[in-house]
Symmetry: C2
Subunit: 233 residues, 2 copies
């Protein structure tokens, strides 16, 4: 079925906030790479434990990771999904408030937070990029507040799919391969696994998307935007 679905459209929306280490920016991180250690991790392995002393920062090179906060009774909230080029941990104070776990096998660069501090003080250009990164994080966080505080289950799911479609940007067209399980999606969206399934089913029935496990095709981007209460960008 999926092999026969033609690419529907290329994105007309503006470029998403670009990761700090995207192709065009890779050079600004060069000084850090000198002191960086490459780390490889298997699926579901822990990269940073919640509460770890925050000595290091991480730059995700390949794969997908999730940041996680676990409550004492086991309730779990996924903070964000990290994709290649995403930086984690520079904003820690004394310790990492969220843990980091591999969603797929991942490769990361690990370097001391002090190295980042030094670079920021020395390199005005890098400092500006880091500022832009912070601003993007803060704004994205606020968008999540609206999602978690005021959107319905189905709206959250639609918004999530749009976000992922923008960020993953696979080879061809509107098909996206979601690296994370339904459980991860649920904990990201403040829902349960079952509700995520039902929401996807509802969007499928409405003809907005096609779903097959982790592969999702956006059939009607406009309708998905409406379903997610995303004002047209």
């Amino acid at each position: 079925m999926f092999a026969t679905v033609a690419p529907i459209a290329t994105w007309s929306s503006p470029v998403p906030p670009r990761p700090i280490a995207g192709p065009a920016q890779a050079n600004v991180l060069e000084p850090l790479k000198a002191v960086a250690v490459t780390v490889r991790t298997d699926r579901d392995e822990e990269i940073v434990a919640q509460g770890d002393p925050a000595r290091h920062c991480y730059l995700l090179v390949s794969g997908c990771a999730r940041t996680v906060k676990l409550m004492e009774d086991g309730r779990r909230q996924v903070g964000e999904f990290l994709l290649p080029g995403d930086l984690f941990g520079w904003e820690a104070l004394d310790e990492h408030d969220f843990g980091v776990e591999a969603v797929t096998p991942v490769t990361l660069l690990r370097f001391p937070r002090s190295a980042l501090e030094t670079l920021v003080d020395r390199d005005r250009h890098f400092a500006r990029q880091l500022r832009a990164l912070s601003a993007g994080q803060i704004r994205a966080g606020r968008e999540r507040l609206v999602l978690l505080g005021r959107k319905t289950a189905c709206e959250r799911i639609a918004s999530f799919l749009l976000e992922m479609a923008q960020r993953i940007r696979g080879e061809g067209g509107a098909m996206i391969g979601l690296p994370m399980s339904r459980a991860d999606m649920a904990d990201y969206l403040g829902l349960t696994i079952e509700t995520v399934c039902r929401g996807l089913a509802q969007l499928r029935t409405a003809g907005v998307i096609a779903v097959e496990r982790s592969k999702i095709v956006i059939l009607d981007r406009r309708a998905l935007g409406v379903a997610g209460c995303e004002t047209v960008h």
Copy 2:
């Protein structure tokens, strides 16, 4: 009743992330004050409209304000409450994604975002402070994600009271005067007015707090922390 309630305790928790313009830091903003305009606004007046071009930043001097996102159908999410010393708007890209409204009559300093950019580039000390501020914002935002994504109504309310108690730090003891209405609290916590009332009533019945309109006394801080799922700091 409230006049007879003795102060219960002083806070034993660590200092909260300090606003950038608190007494000790006031000096670093001096260069900005030269180009700043003082703005005064009445209760419920709009200070920044959602979607305004982001030419200015604001430093709240006195009173309380809320940042607000309105969805097309009228659903509302309060992003944060701004208290004296809080900075708003530096993180905007092209436009302010949230509006700002006065909760009480407020005084603010308004200055061009470009002035902040300049200061940041020139003053390493200030840049570091701004970085600390961003980091604090990001961490606070993540805490909110857990609150909105995974906590029950009553837990959200308990967490909120603790946050406000820390930030407002009134003259005497455990009594806090909340400047915002139940509606503002509800939109901050992703709840309805009625649910906020019921949650407060529940905490009152449990003997954890005393409530009278906007005046709230924390009778049992430990129990409130437990009710809010706040791991002991």
